[in-house]
């Protein structure tokens, strides 16, 4: 069957079997291997991508179900050389070790911050509670997301009235560009 979707801002049309899972479509067909998979039962969350801005487990979505929708993978987080604050935060606060759960964690964090720019620790922990990390013990992931919250992208479209004065002006891209 033919499937058409927008992935990281690019329109894509491919011919696939109806049973192809979105995670395999992304990895095997589009060769975007930053999205991982780690279980058979929708429990681990390493396969999380954003579908229309909302985190979903791509192992439990058929590629066909994403037809007409917009998908963001980890490869779509940065704008060229400019990292999303979430990516920078994970590096600053050691939010990753083996890197396997990291793409999914960062995408959930991005969606959380888009929805709630100043989450507290509990809100962050709840947001990532459908995703397993075997390395970090989560505390540094929480710190990473907080770092990102404290260093938002300065943008016209997404004015953050109480953003910190020291927000990193190097991240001059608009939110839309970063998300593109």
């Amino acid at each position: 069957m033919q499937v058409t979707m927008t992935v990281n801002g690019t329109d894509i049309t491919e011919e696939i079997e109806p049973r192809v899972l979105l995670v395999h479509f992304i990895r095997d067909v589009l060769r975007l291997t930053g999205t991982h998979w780690g279980c058979d039962t929708s429990n681990c969350g390493t396969c999380v991508v954003l579908m229309d801005g909302q985190p979903v487990k791509s192992c439990t979505v058929l590629a066909m179900m994403a037809d007409g929708h917009s998908i963001t993978t980890v490869e779509g987080l940065a704008t060229g050389a400019v990292l999303d604050p979430v990516q920078q935060g994970f590096m600053e606060e050691h939010g990753l070790q083996c890197g396997f759960c990291t793409p999914g964690m960062m995408l959930t964090a991005r969606a959380l911050l888009d929805h709630n720019p100043h989450p507290d620790d509990t809100e962050i922990r709840q947001a990532i509670s459908g995703q397993i990390c075997r390395c970090t013990g989560y505390a540094t992931i929480v710190r990473s997301v907080k770092w990102a919250a404290e260093h938002p992208v300065l943008s016209n479209a997404d004015t953050d009235t109480d953003s910190d004065a020291d927000a990193d002006s190097a991240h001059g891209a608009t939110a839309d560009e970063v998300r593109a």
């Binding site: 049973r19 899972l21 058979d40 969350g45 979903v56 179900m65 037809d67 509670s129 459908g130 995703q131």
Partner: protein, 307 residues
């Protein structure tokens, strides 16, 4: 990762179209909503439908509406395609039926809740599924459509047993209707081995108070302990009585007696019976506190007031 067996896929454009597709493709076709019950079963090859009819485009089934006038006045109607996240984030639902908010907080995880739907949960009819209990406690009516029209079923009629419902292969669950009652409070509590796990046991309750402060109506439901329908014996002792801790203790005891759990990795029978008792008492306390704080169907529920 495990992979489903091959099938054909079609996307429905309307409920009528979905019904026609079900008719056309026969009993080996299945409705695909959020996919979080069906797809895992298909990956394990415990389910092997020949056709999947994707209803995710049926926005007509994605709604939460409080009818305050007209033929359905006093009813909250929830479309079957409404996602768990929508239910969890709805202030209206939290005000009218805090039991739903309680339950939604502990259903799977936030990401699964982004996709999973109330209709999918009810139709999966897993004995450990939380919304089935919630709907039983709230006296929900399931609105089912087929080629011959619409039929309304109580939850007792809807549930035919574990993983089995009254929805025929050529029908679709479209809506759940919940009667809104004044002076009513409700609550749900679950014990799980870990966040996101299925229930070891859970209980839900709804209490309606009479103007004199006695209990006018009560319903108690249990999850994952072999209880079919609400625990009528336990509810019966409450009705017409002044709500007291002793009364809740008696209701808990009756719930514990009524249920019929099995031993598994989540715990032995004694423990689950104990939980039926313990959790029944807890939800009754909390439902009562909420009912007492509630003045009418539109009064905001004191969500933070834990009994």
């Amino acid at each position: 990762m495990q992979i489903p067996a091959a099938f054909d896929y079609v996307r429905a454009s309307t409920v009528d179209n979905a019904l026609a597709l079900l008719e056309r493709h026969g009993p080996e076709s299945r409705i695909l909503a959020g996919g979080h019950s069906l797809l895992p079963m298909m990956k394990l090859r415990l389910a092997r439908p020949e056709w999947l009819i994707d209803i995710n485009d049926l926005f007509e089934l994605d709604f939460v509406v409080h009818d305050t006038s007209g033929p359905d006045a006093g009813t909250l109607r929830i479309g079957a395609l409404t996602r768990h996240t929508t239910l969890l984030e709805s202030a209206q639902i939290e005000a009218l039926f805090p039991i739903i908010t309680d339950a939604e907080k502990v259903i799977a995880d936030p990401i699964v809740r982004n996709r999973g739907t109330i209709g999918g949960s009810l139709c999966q009819a897993d004995p450990a599924e939380d919304l089935s209990t919630v709907c039983e406690v709230l006296g929900a009516i399931a609105v089912i459509r087929g080629a011959g029209g619409q039929r309304l079923l109580s939850m007792d009629e809807f549930h035919r047993g574990p993983y089995e419902t009254a929805v025929a292969h050529n029908e679709i669950l479209c809506e759940v209707r919940l009667p809104v009652r004044s002076r009513t409070g409700s609550a749900y509590e679950k014990v799980e081995r870990r966040v996101g796990d299925w229930a070891v046991a859970a209980a839900g309750a709804s209490l309606t108070l009479a103007p004199d402060g006695t209990i006018e109506a009560a319903a108690i439901g249990l999850t994952a302990v072999g209880q079919t329908g609400t625990v009528t014996e336990a509810a019966a002792v409450l009705v017409g009585r002044q709500p007291t801790e002793a009364l809740f203790v008696e209701a808990g005891r009756l719930a514990s007696v009524a249920c019929d759990p099995i031993a598994d990795q989540r715990g032995p029978i004694d423990y689950k019976r104990h939980l039926a008792d313990e959790l029944t008492r807890r939800v009754l306390r909390r439902a009562f506190a909420r009912a007492a704080a509630s003045e009418g169907p539109n009064a905001p529920a004191p969500a933070t007031q834990e009994g």
